[in-house]
């Protein structure tokens, strides 16, 4: 398989990570917490989507919408129950609470849904392009034949749609502008009359909606089980930190870097070391924290 094919895989992976990472990083920037339970929101969204598609005679896009609504509602309810009451206690108690909540949610889902992996029963169309020259450099082919599936296109298309909608939201709507103001300086935003609790709630809903969508995209692209969210949380986290925690645009860039690293390392690592490809994402995370903790965007995370 050529490099080009792996780049395509990387872009697909980067796309669903990006959708999730935007939500994660907005919560970080505005609620000021690292939400370790966020991976479980993806799982919840995916299962809501699967349940809808499996039991109701609705087309897939409707199931996706239901999953997004489900993710948004779940996120808001969980925030109101678990995070808003301890908002004043600082980042570490919030982080620890989210770890506890994540464990509880993950196992609750496992209890209800069982251990099996599920996927959407969709028809796949595969578009192949053959006869592309390999352009080899050493053992690696830079181009080579490649294919794109309809799932790939759906995932990437949804992600691009999300980016455009997000940009519109953050630049054109009052809520979005208030979100950015709060991310920059919460006290100043409050002085200027921003209802900070309402904005926090909006961010929770938005993050949940995005997580729901990301979960469904993972389910469309591969499959989901109770552990899906947890297995993605460190990648999401790595993407968000790489992009500069709190910066949604940075998170998009970070996600595609992570996606490409994941797919390229899977392709080029020797067999039996697949596990290492996820370690690569964590390695990037650690290296970013050490070398440039502020990520691609500037935000200081070291002690003064």
């Amino acid at each position: 398989m050529g490099l080009l094919q792996n780049v395509i895989f990387g872009l697909v992976t980067g796309s669903y990570i990006a959708v999730a990472a935007i939500g994660f990083t907005l919560v970080y920037g505005i609620v000021n917490m690292i939400n370790f339970a966020y991976g479980e929101y993806l799982t919840v969204g995916a299962f809501v989507g699967l349940l809808t598609a499996g039991t109701l005679p609705v087309p897939l896009p409707v199931a996706v919408l239901v999953a997004m609504v489900g993710g948004g509602v779940a996120s808001l309810v969980l925030a109101r129950l678990f995070f808003t009451p301890i908002n004043h206690t600082g980042p570490v108690p919030m982080l620890l609470t989210s770890i506890g909540l994540g464990i509880a949610l993950r196992n609750l889902i496992r209890l209800v849904a069982g251990r099996n992996a599920r996927y959407f029963d969709t028809e796949t169309a595969t578009f192949r392009l053959t006869g592309v020259p390999d352009v080899s450099v050493g053992p690696f082919d830079l181009l080579g034949d490649f294919f794109v599936t309809s799932e790939h296109l759906v995932v990437v298309g949804c992600a691009v749609g999300v980016f455009l909608a997000l940009h519109g939201l953050l630049t054109r709507t009052d809520v979005g502008i208030a979100m950015r103001a709060m991310g920059d300086d919460e006290d100043l935003a409050r002085v200027r009359g921003v209802d900070t609790q309402r904005i926090r709630d909006s961010v929770w809903v938005l993050a949940g909606v995005l997580a729901g969508l990301a979960g469904v995209l993972v389910a469309i692209q591969t499959n989901v089980s109770a552990g899906t969210g947890y297995s993605h949380i460190l990648q999401i986290l790595a993407a968000a930190i790489l992009g500069g925690a709190g910066s949604p645009y940075g998170a998009i860039a970070g996600s595609y870097i992570i996606g490409l690293v994941l797919s390229l390392s899977t392709a080029f690592l020797p067999g039996g070391m697949a596990e290492l490809s996820s370690a690569m994402a964590f390695l990037i995370l650690v290296v970013v924290l050490l070398v440039k903790p502020s990520g691609l965007a500037a935000r200081e995370v070291r002690e003064a």
Binding site: T89, G102, N107, L234, I241, G272, A279, V286, E303
Partner: protein, 349 residues
């Protein structure tokens, strides 16, 4: 209060633990080295198993409490140092393991090696990470633990992959002869080690040394501005915690006779963290008690499993739901834990 209040520096608590630890180790030696043999009722096995694991995790939680409880370092990758200690000891001491490296060195050498390797990993992680803000230190250490875990799984030729390293010597079993006596001797020996650890960390934290650590937790800049080398103390605290975790890992490997990635999941980190927070960070005996509560729950759940109309799998999920909610509830309703000092920890109750 007089000038000499609390001089002699909490010696009573430290010395008590030291003495009790010595008694435990002596008793362990008696059972292991003499022909004395005990036979335990089969129904008690499960208690002994959990108690031995408690002693091992006790060393872990005391190291973590030095790092977080006293110095404020949010290490959420504690299992990595535990695992590295265990693997190092296993690889150094194993003879002809089925998979991975086995060097067949004498176990005391291996145990020392395990502590050193864990301390070195602690120094490497510490040197790069202790400058990070609390929540990002948590993320960096957690990611480190995941990297370590995947290295163990991936490099089969070295670490034995999912099978891990086997044929690790079990010195206590070898000396004691029969299984029951070995179990009792192991519990006494490990309990002794935990008590020695308790004595050591108590001495450290009751001394002026601990005052500096707690000052760092409260405000690094002030601590620096009165002339204390904050970074050095943070490094030391982190490395000592890592070395203790390595010791715990080494003991674990020499007890089970095998190590595999499955023993070293994030669940270990979560268990010791919950134990520490439940007991009350910065209170050494408190964190041990908190750990006892959490592990007691595990024991209880083993018995409950027998009477519940649930599969073992479903039951494990239920238990973890409860564990997760305990963590959430402790932070919300008892942020200083059961035996912690809310004012000392700077939390509202």
């Amino acid at each position: 209060m007089s000038v000499a209040d609390r001089l002699p520096l909490g010696d009573a608590a430290g010395n008590g633990a030291l003495l009790l630890g010595a008694v435990c180790v002596l008793l362990a030696a008696v059972f292991a080295l003499t022909p004395l043999v005990v036979s335990l009722p089969g129904s008690l096995y499960v208690f002994f198993e959990v108690a031995i694991l408690f002693a091992v995790y006790g060393v872990l939680v005391l190291g973590l409490d030095l790092q977080y409880g006293h110095t404020g370092l949010v290490n959420f990758g504690h299992v990595a140092f535990f695992a590295v200690g265990a693997y190092a000891v296993a690889m150094l001491s194993a003879r002809d393991s089925f998979a991975g490296v086995s060097l067949g060195l004498p176990w005391p050498v291996a145990l020392a090696g395990g502590v050193v390797v864990a301390a070195l990993l602690g120094a490497a992680v510490g040197a790069t990470s202790v400058r990070l803000r609390d929540d990002f230190l948590a993320v960096a250490t957690l990611a480190t633990a995941e990297i370590v875990h995947s290295l163990f799984v991936s490099f089969e030729g070295v670490f034995g992959g999912n099978v891990g390293i086997g044929s690790v010597p079990q010195p206590v079993s070898d000396l004691a002869g029969d299984a029951d006596t070995a179990m009792l001797a192991t519990l006494l020996l490990f309990g002794g080690v935990t008590l020695f650890t308790l004595a050591a960390v108590t001495r450290l934290t009751e001394a002026p040394y601990g005052r500096v650590l707690r000052a760092i937790r409260a405000d690094e800049l002030v601590t620096r501005s009165v002339g204390k080398s904050v970074l050095t103390y943070k490094m030391q605290s982190f490395v000592y915690g890592a070395a203790l975790a390595g010791l715990a890992g080494g003991l674990f490997a020499l007890y089970t006779g095998a190590v595999a990635p499955g023993y070293f999941t994030i669940q270990v980190t979560v268990t010791v963290w919950i134990g520490m927070l439940l007991g009350g960070a910065a209170n050494h005996r408190g964190v041990l008690a908190g750990l006892a509560v959490i592990m007691g729950l595990r024991l209880l759940s083993r018995f409950a499993l027998g009477v519940m109309p649930l599969s073992a799998d479903a039951f494990a999920s239920v238990r973890l739901v409860v564990v997760g909610l305990i963590l959430v509830a402790v932070i919300r309703y008892r942020p200083a834990g059961l035996w912690g000092d809310a004012e000392e920890l700077g939390v509202d109750t």
